[in-house]
Amino acid sequence: MIRNLFAILLILTLLACGGGGPPGASITLTGRVLNVDTGAPFSTSATVQSSVATGTTAVVDGSFTVSAAKSSTGLTVLAPASLGYPIFDFVFPAQTQAISDVGDLWVGPQKVTLKGVIRNASNSAGIAGAKIAFAGQNGTSASDGTFSIPNVAYSNANTGSFLGLVGQVSATNFFSNEFTPNGNTAVSGVVDVGEVLMTPLDSDNPPGLPYNIWGIISPSASANGTIVTLKDSGGTVVRRFTVGSDARYQFWVDAASYRIEFQNGSLSAPVQNVTLSSSSDVIRADATLN
């Protein structure tokens, strides 16, 4: 209530000031307001408030236009009063275009916190700084990839629309991706969407060749030219690899037990014994020359 009071006072103050901001610095924000309880616009207009003006939504499609200060970063939406919905504040990146579309802003009878974790699909590492957008709300992932977006519209009575919402996630050096609640509903006011995987923007180079035994030779200064010999359990040489400047070796061989030997002139590394229980296993066996 106190928060709402502050919001109202802020609006009244801004209106009394004639809209605030320097002349000519206003923009128009457009978008739609939709009801997560029904998946449709409100049958009576909702109210959309910027820092400088108030607008209403069209009954036919929920669309709105409202003046706002340039570089605005938020809107407040009030559902028709008869519904008794909470007030929804939406925060978004600074809008600078003369007409800026802020997309679909979803409101509903309840609010939940949307949580999950953004991961690199190639190694499952959390992705920091990923931008997440869902139901008009926005968030950023933490250093471990987790994110938590509060004030997401929800309906305890009708989850169908919520479950059909599609969120977007973007991160530097990754292909953008989409996600859904994936059938997860609220538990104690929290909807956990689980892992959202992102595919790394790979290089312009096609991938290298497949392998299931590999390793790095160190020290790197001595690695170039190292002969890595793969022998089977009977001591027969199966493969031999000459290490290049990248200090890396690799083999793609059948499932079996192997012995790996490393030699570069007078330098050598301890023999490594590895067992591939399946040809789809991948084993890493690094070596240090001395």
Partner: protein, 913 residues
Amino acid sequence: MKAMRPLVAALVALIGATSAFSQSSLIKLDLGSTTREPLLSQADAAFTKYVKKYAELTSLNRATRAKANPKNTQPYIVPAVLRFTQNGKPLPTGGRGRGGGLTLVFDPTFNAVDTGRTAFMQKVYDDAVATMDSMFGAPAISGTVNVVNYDATIGDRQAIVGGYYLPNNGSGGREIRLPLNTSRDVAAVALIHCLLLAYLPDPAYGYDAYLEGLVRATTMRVCRIPAAVPTLDQVVVANILANGYDVGADYDWLNQKSLGGPSFIAPNLLSAPITSGNLGGPYLIRFRMAGSAWAKVLVEYPTFAKDLNAAILANPAAATNAAQLENLAISTLNSISPGGTIEGLPFASWIKEQGILQTKLTQGTKLHTTIFPFVDGLSGTDFGVFGVEITWFETAANGNETLLSGTSYPVFWDKDYNRILASAQSERIDIASSYGSVAPNFADENAGKAYRVAIDVPVQDRISRHYVPAGAIATPSTATSDFYGTIVGVNQPAGTNLFVNISYGSESVNDIPVSRFAFGTRIATSSYLAARQVTIQVVRKDLGGNPTSILTRKVNKSIGSLGVTLGAAPTGTIGFPNGLPGGLTMVGLSGDPLMSDLSDALGISSSAFLAAKYNPSKAKYDLFPVTGLVSGGQGYFVRTGSLFNPNIAARVETGTSIGVALRPGWNLISNPLGTQCAFSDVQVVRATDFPRTYLAASGNDTSDTTAPILGKTAFQFVPGASDGVTGLPEGGSFAASTVFAPGIGYFVRCLAPEGAVMLFGSQPSGGRGKNAPLAAIQQSTFRASLFGKGEQSSVFFGMASGATTGFDAKWDSNLPPAIGGMQISAISPLNDKRYLEYRPYSADATYRMNLDGLVKGRTYTFVIDQIQGRWVTAIAKNVATGQTYSTGATRLTIAFVATGTSANFDVTVRGVR
């Protein structure tokens, strides 16, 4: 009875390793040892979970299917076998042994809600038993079977899932446990199904594809004979069977390899809740397809199930091995009809074409698409309304299935492969918990005449293709057709018309007109509407009416309507241009193999080769067997120990266009057609955009300024020199491709986050664009080549207007370092190793060529030649020695002896302007 230990926690699972019903029994309850009451309690709990799933499923699925047929509101029946095991071993089936029938003892509580229900069920059995015996054989084990009312436990009344059968209820008795269905018709079908389960020998079939398929097919036949079920309403029975037993007219559309596997319900899904709004995975369509597949056999050989049961009884060891089962089925068929065929095919060939009957577990992502026409409630501009349902899931090594989410952008094509935009709601399918659907309406575009629509449904790197006849099945103003379909891969020269003939028994309907490769008609005779074999012929007539037979196909249809896709993907064989030559190679599938497993498709023991498929989502290779379901358009790295020429049974497309789905990143793909495709024969589609040519989509068309969808270059693999140890190439390098040839694998990079679809055209070899120019060649282009002992490597460099000294996506292309092979690369000013390196057109330039993977002391030849533009001066300098070499008339050739594993040459070109 021995002293009882405490009850061990119950395990409800689908698959066991030893039970007679091990692969196929739906529910297995494993007990250490137990007393009677806790055992019954656990059985109840196990089955309660099971039926609750079906309760939700059936309700939802009915709602979905009712869109296609509002009358189709009968519940589903999915009876099951519950097998008790003790200490891992199945309890023996109760009963007396062979000979004699079943004595049913009904729980009198059935009558509490429905007076006379037990008498009704006894009469159902009495009426049907002779037909059941004639179709399925007498019960393998005779004796008493208790039919028990479990309605209070099972619960969900609306679902009415039927019940389940226990070969041993823990006390040596056999039981069928049923809910109290409100519909007596439903109860009767469920009882007959459970009784047939009780008829089976023990051990029975080891796979759901056989067990459930044969029982369902037989249940259908029994229940569709009015004399066998005189108390039932055949209209209601038809709907019950359509919901849970039979896919009817839609078999061609639904016959997909992704359904295959040893069991129909994944172990992990048995007790997992079904999310509201979806079907909970692929299992219901599996049940229906299995019933329909075997029903095709019974159409031709009505005693087949009985004879196969007898064969199993005589040879129980054949129950758990797929190959043995197949051989047993073949010998059974031969005993009925020597040399007998199914739908005109030898059994061994026929069964490979039925995706549902492939029992091998394949890992990885799978896509199934269900297509069905809307025939009721049409109005206004409805012309060709079809339901498109996606099931998207992933199978693990242990058979568990993960219900995946994602997005698909379906692509609809007309007969000339122009994209059809249906409606905004139909252009995107959001998939949640494996399920997504749309219902496109294909508008009247042909003055009321039908036309063929090809529907591509891509999800990640999987794609399904279906052909539907828009306007040929039902419109608001036309009677619903009962024979309809499409024709694919058939040439129709100007001045000719296509017709379809169908014959069945002594009757036939001829000259059914084909419009834009689609047709539909209403036959409606009782003879046609019966389940029977029909022969379909496609005929082309010239203006004089002279007919030419194009193709003929036999179909064993179900009762009612029939939809067919004629000519699509005829079965043939595919291979690779050089076979599998031994060592490392990169191959592609220019057809869709019938077998779902890569080693099975190649005909190689899974332990005799290595295969890998690149997974851009994981930025690493999936190694066989994780490579997943094999399908056309996929590429693989394969390593074999010696030359092998596989002869892969596959559906081979030659007269149409086929799509290949791409994920963001590098995709290892192939041309899915049996003929070569020039770049100009390939279209690329991203999401809801209009298609672009491959050259434009890959940034190789300078007139197209739109951002590229694909990387500039499609790479193919060039095996390196033979390895000193194995005598086979174990490495190699990548080279740009100028064409998409059959059997070759290609790396193509997709730049679109949504993925894309490459549509490979049907232009035969020698057609337009066969010798399309090298995509990257623009302005003045030079080639630098390095020749060694049995090895060759080339890069291209030059000058082009618009190019810079940085990385230009339109001009430049990086190259990875060779792995185990000799490789030449152009070093860019950014120090990248490039395959294509272009500089501004207006300047002279020096390019450093790096030669790597050399063998010290070996002689190499380094060649510069100009392949586009006026020949200009070129000077090459060996960076190590400082020696320079001058230009020849049209090329510069340098022979040198390697002094190390790498060398550098600086090549300066002058006078381009």
